[in-house]
């Protein structure tokens, strides 16, 4: 039994249901359970989805880098498909981060956007993987393009640790909530931690389900293309055979 055959029943049946329920629980936590933050008020509730969208994006790009490294090493198309699926879903979550961030920043900072190191590097990360997707769309079946894209996915992920340390390294204005030392900001209320963990579970399960769906679609596209080539070859042979007296 292959790994895919073992994963498929869980990923096709359990995972979407679990992600749906977890997302409902996350929304209930964010809108009904957590208290309002003292300084920011209701708008702080954006934080729970914003942070977990960032986590999912980083997870996606990390997974894509790992799968790309395995693809370059083993030259197995399965890893290439996994990398492509992870980048596509990672880009979705990275776009969510770049949309929700400015909406939070407007009432809190008084501006939609500032070229803070963390914000700038997140835009760079988004651009790197947008280039990856453009390369894949242009290259389709070209193995050389697939290898270039794999290298880009590996290089691009180096931006993720930089984003994480950028707040402390370059003293930007982006708050450092998760990694803040004790007594210097961060989450104070236990209910906020519960909401953050529930949202983390919801986003991770949604991410895994979306990657699985995309991975399966890419696998089927490749199989279909191979079958079409086989049918074309058979058709050609039949035509040649039919023409022979």
């Amino acid at each position: 039994m292959t790994i895919r055959a073992r994963i498929a029943p869980v990923a096709d049946t359990v995972l979407p249901g679990f992600a749906f329920v977890a997302m409902l629980a996350a929304l209930a936590c964010v809108f009904l359970y957590v208290p309002n933050e003292r300084m920011q008020g209701a708008v702080q509730r954006i934080f729970y989805f914003h942070v977990n969208a960032a986590w999912s994006a980083f997870f996606g790009f990390g997974l894509a880098a790992l799968a790309s490294a395995l693809f370059l090493w083993r030259t197995d198309a399965t890893y290439d498909r996994l990398a492509r699926a992870a980048v596509e879903v990672g880009m979705l979550f990275c776009t969510m981060v770049l949309c929700t961030g400015p909406i939070w920043a407007r009432p809190i900072w008084g501006t939609w956007w500032t070229w803070d190191p963390r914000l700038t590097m997140t835009v760079i990360l988004w651009t790197i993987y947008a280039v990856y997707l453009v390369l894949r769309a242009m290259g389709e079946d070209d193995p050389q393009i697939a290898r270039y894209a794999a290298v880009l996915a590996i290089v691009g992920v180096l931006d993720v640790p930089l984003i994480m340390v950028s707040v402390r390294l370059w003293r930007g204005i982006h708050p450092s909530v998760i990694s803040a030392p004790a007594g210097q900001g961060g989450i104070q209320d236990a209910r906020m931690i519960v909401a953050l963990v529930v949202t983390l579970v919801a986003f991770t399960s949604l991410f895994l389900w979306l990657v699985w769906r995309r991975f399966e679609a890419l696998r089927l596209e490749d199989e279909l293309r191979a079958l079409e080539d086989d049918v074309d070859a058979l058709g050609g042979r039949a035509a040649v055979g039919g023409a022979t007296p």
């Binding site: 920011q40 209701a42 949309c99 407007r106 009432p107 679609a217 279909l224 079409e228």
Partner: protein, 52 residues
């Protein structure tokens, strides 16, 4: 900034998330339908080849 104004930002942010997710799911659905069409076309061709 008043609390109702901040609620507007809160719901805009969550709205943006659901719109992006919906667009992605629509994109996945379209790719899936294209795949089904290609599969039907292949079936038709194979069926045609067999009848020949």
């Amino acid at each position: 900034m008043t609390q109702p104004d901040r609620f507007w930002f809160l719901f805009s942010a969550y709205g943006a998330i659901w719109v992006l997710l919906a667009l992605f799911l629509v994109h996945l659905g379209r790719r899936h339908r294209a795949l089904e069409r290609a599969l039907d076309e292949l079936r038709r061709r194979v069926g045609g080849d067999r009848s020949r």
